[in-house]
């Protein structure tokens, strides 16, 4: 059996909380992402989705447990992955084109000409070819996300970690980008670990949806294989009966976690005042 592209083995993440306390963000999470699979991670806000992604990226070492990438224990940065962060991560002092070609600048600093050509090709793909010479502050939030996407894909990683990449986009751009992602991913044998808080998006895109419980000490509460056929039409798929079935069964679990996280927030608010 070939090893999974990403596997977290009973990982726990603890952070220093206020006043010397310890905060356990996620506890004993075990998950596997098979090579070439598109897997989504959903869960209420603050349950530790970004934390898990950071561990897979090698940016955060688990307090307990092991991270394996293609079977090898991960130490330091995950060189086979890129990460599309939830926050802005473009370099404000580089133009759009220079931002898109950043990984090429790092890895092949001598081949500027080829890099630039490739960069323009990718800008065209995300519909921003006229903006090559702008600086990020001159773009809208959604445009910046598209630049970030091109920046990640151009690096050609085996694993793509994406942290709510489309939550800032309007519905049209979003559908377009989702379609673009699926096109890029299909037949590429790349592995995608996709974080979202939008269950519909998770089902429409993925092979499998993982549901995390509300924090603190978030755990994996369910794994749901999505057996919808590919290639998928992202607009029509939401109307299919099978989609609705899946949605209902996952939502029952997710709903409970969301309610728990509300209750906890309420409880904390009352006790804080």
């Amino acid at each position: 059996m070939t090893p999974s592209a990403v596997s977290l083995e009973a990982v726990t993440a603890r952070f220093a909380g206020p006043g010397g306390t310890e905060y356990t963000a996620v506890e004993g999470v075990t998950l596997d992402v098979a090579e070439g699979a598109f897997v989504s991670l959903v869960g209420p806000s603050g349950c530790g989705k970004s934390t898990l992604l950071n561990m897979a990226a090698g940016l955060l070492a688990p307090s307990v447990g092991t991270v394996r990438i293609f079977g090898d224990p991960l130490r330091g940065i995950n060189r086979r992955a890129t990460c599309m962060f939830q926050q802005e991560a473009l370099l404000p002092w580089k133009t759009v084109l220079d931002n898109v070609t950043l990984s090429l600048t790092f890895r092949k600093p001598r081949e500027r000409k080829q890099s630039e050509e490739l960069g323009r090709l990718w800008l065209k793909r995300v519909g921003l070819e006229e903006f090559a010479d702008r600086f990020p502050y001159q773009l809208s939030g959604g445009m910046r996300k598209r630049v970030a996407m091109a920046q990640n894909w151009i690096a050609g990683p085996d694993i793509l970690l994406m942290d709510e990449p489309f939550s800032a986009l309007d519905i049209h751009t979003r559908l377009r980008m989702e379609g673009e992602i699926l096109n890029l991913w299909a037949g590429s044998n790349k592995t995608v670990l996709f974080v979202t808080h939008d269950l519909e998006e998770a089902i429409a895109l993925s092979d499998e949806v993982l549901v995390l419980s509300a924090g603190p000490a978030g755990r994996l509460v369910g794994r749901y294989p999505v057996d919808l056929p590919r290639p998928r039409n992202l607009i029509d798929i939401r109307a299919e009966p099978r989609f609705a079935d899946l949605y209902r069964s996952i939502w029952t679990d997710l709903r409970e976690e969301v309610l728990k996280s509300y209750e906890r927030a309420d409880y904390e608010r009352r006790h804080a005042s």
Partner: protein
Amino acid sequence: MNAPKHSPWIWVGQAAIGASALGLWEWGARAGTLDKFFFSRPSDVAARVWQWVTSGSIWPHLGVTLLEALLAFTIGVFLGVLLGFLLARTPTAAVLLEPYIRMFNALPRVVLAPIFLLWFGLGIWSKVTLGVTVVFFIVFFNTYRGVKEVDPVIVNNARMLGASESQLIRHVLVPSALTWIFSSLHISIGFAMISVVVGEYLGSSKGVGYVISQAEGVFDTTGVFAGMTVLAAVVLMVGAAVERLERWLLRWKPESPIRAGERDL
């Protein structure tokens, strides 16, 4: 305050303030309200500056002062940026050195001037050293802070995209710290000039500081004011050049916070 900066009326207003102050001074001196011996006269000062410039007698002095300031500035900036980066990237060293850096920074630099005179003699290096001790700390603290305040998400993203440590410094940390470094350059330029002039004033045979101290020695107030005028003009010109460079290097910013800050003064 946003728009007025670009309005020509601001220039007119600024010029009017300067002109009326000078006019009042001139009038006071002519009318005898201000003692000409102590206060001189703007017209005399201008005539003296003009005479220095046309006869060429000021150039060697100005040349020496500028050379000293330039050396002090360059060495101070180089050391400040280098050490700022080094300490920001090696927290252990930063913790170990912190009390000493704070201690040296707390020292008034003027008291060091006589010691540097003893160590390095009356030539330019005693002045350069004095200037370096001033410039270094300003640049060092700003660089350190600038590197420390880099957005960690940006750093992580660059590392995920394959940046080596040196690439990280060149493409991420330096540009990010540049705003901070630049705000220190503005101040450092002025301080470099001031410290070398103080050094010259305390002991030298050349430089604008020497000219001022000579004039003072014979109660030539006109000469003192003329020296100050030359100094101020040079600092303003150098400052303008730095600002141009800064505007170009920070063109990726919607609005430089430094200039925005100055505007709000």
